[in-house]
Symmetry: C2
Subunit: 202 residues, 2 copies
């Protein structure tokens, strides 16, 4: 199943190029398991979710440690029927039939409980979409139920759910929401915004 | 039908607050037809597409005229079954049965042809999602066919389509893709990034 993201990093400083270039080293441990292509609007990451989410997390955390107000924006996708398969995306976690929602909810919470602590506080906003089936809202409500119990839930908003917490717990929560809801081979996407060091934060 | 967006404006400068505050006046002509609520990660705009897209366009264009590298990111949605209806969203354009794809394609092109020219060059990247039906890819391919003929098409990318051109044509193209594809009362979303003044542009 093809999976990956178009991501962009926005450091709110005149030296945004310096902050981005300085943070790119955070991707090095993942480069052999990701396809990476950059143009003037975003960077494509192709790979399985268990590599993709930690890579986005470490890139965002590295940029945010400069104390500059930084935002990571991402269009994340798995199972799009229009995309060719790619061996780099192979992951066993989508094998087999889909367990009941309650089991997936518990497994997702257990995964978040073991997330590393990065020492970078951030807020995140996500919209999760499940395509190609009549009951897509059941899976969306299932993921929202998990998000509310995840320990990072801040509040529901129109079109989105807002989270806050350490970047480790945040990106683990996002990965679990992405992988555990919607059919294992289904088309699931997340429209994601993660922000650190905003002067608007109370 | 409830419609709107969570939007964020990212000026890549240390004076990002000044650029944002300076651009906010561009929303004034639309404020009586939009609900606007801001927090530390995004601004909610609730209103019909024919107000929403010009409002986003003028906000983005005002910020970009500073010559600072600016990005507008938006999660745009209509017809989400989980959202309450709101009178401010009333729009007659979704009344009646859905015309054939070829008719919608022609109507969308005619609308883009009359878009105003703003004198702000930008690139845009969008992922359009149609939820809750088995043939969602037909509507997505229909919208991609329109995008390719719109005059703003740059190229297809994984997970997204990239456009470039004057902000007037760009936002008109985005509005047409959002309104004319997917069922009139269906749940359709766009994950949008618009960028101007990037130093990476060749």
């Amino acid at each position: 199943m093809f999976s990956g993201a178009q991501i962009s990093l926005y450091p709110m400083t005149g030296d945004f190029v310096g902050v981005i270039v300085g943070a790119l080293g955070a991707l090095d441990p993942y480069r052999d398991r990701l396809r990476v292509e950059t143009d003037d609007i975003s960077t494509l990451l192709v790979g399985p979710p268990e590599v993709l989410f930690p890579a986005m997390r470490d890139l965002f955390a590295a940029a945010s440690r400069t104390s500059v107000h930084c935002v990571l924006s991402a269009a994340i996708s798995r199972g799009c029927p229009g995309e060719p398969d790619d061996a780099i995306c192979n992951s066993t976690q989508f094998d087999g039939p889909i367990p009941p929602l309650t089991e997936r909810h518990a497994a997702a919470l257990a995964a978040v409980a073991t997330a590393p602590e990065l020492g970078v506080h951030a807020v995140a906003q996500l919209s999760l979409y499940v395509m190609g089936q009549g009951d897509h809202m059941d899976e969306i409500y299932g993921s929202i139920g998990f998000l509310k119990a995840s320990g990072t839930f801040e509040r529901s908003k129109h079109f989105a759910t807002k989270l806050s917490g350490d970047a480790g717990a945040l990106f683990s929560t996002l990965e679990q929401a992405f992988c555990r809801f919607g059919p294992p081979q289904g088309h699931v996407t997340i429209d994601l915004t993660v922000s650190a060091n905003s002067p608007s934060l109370g």
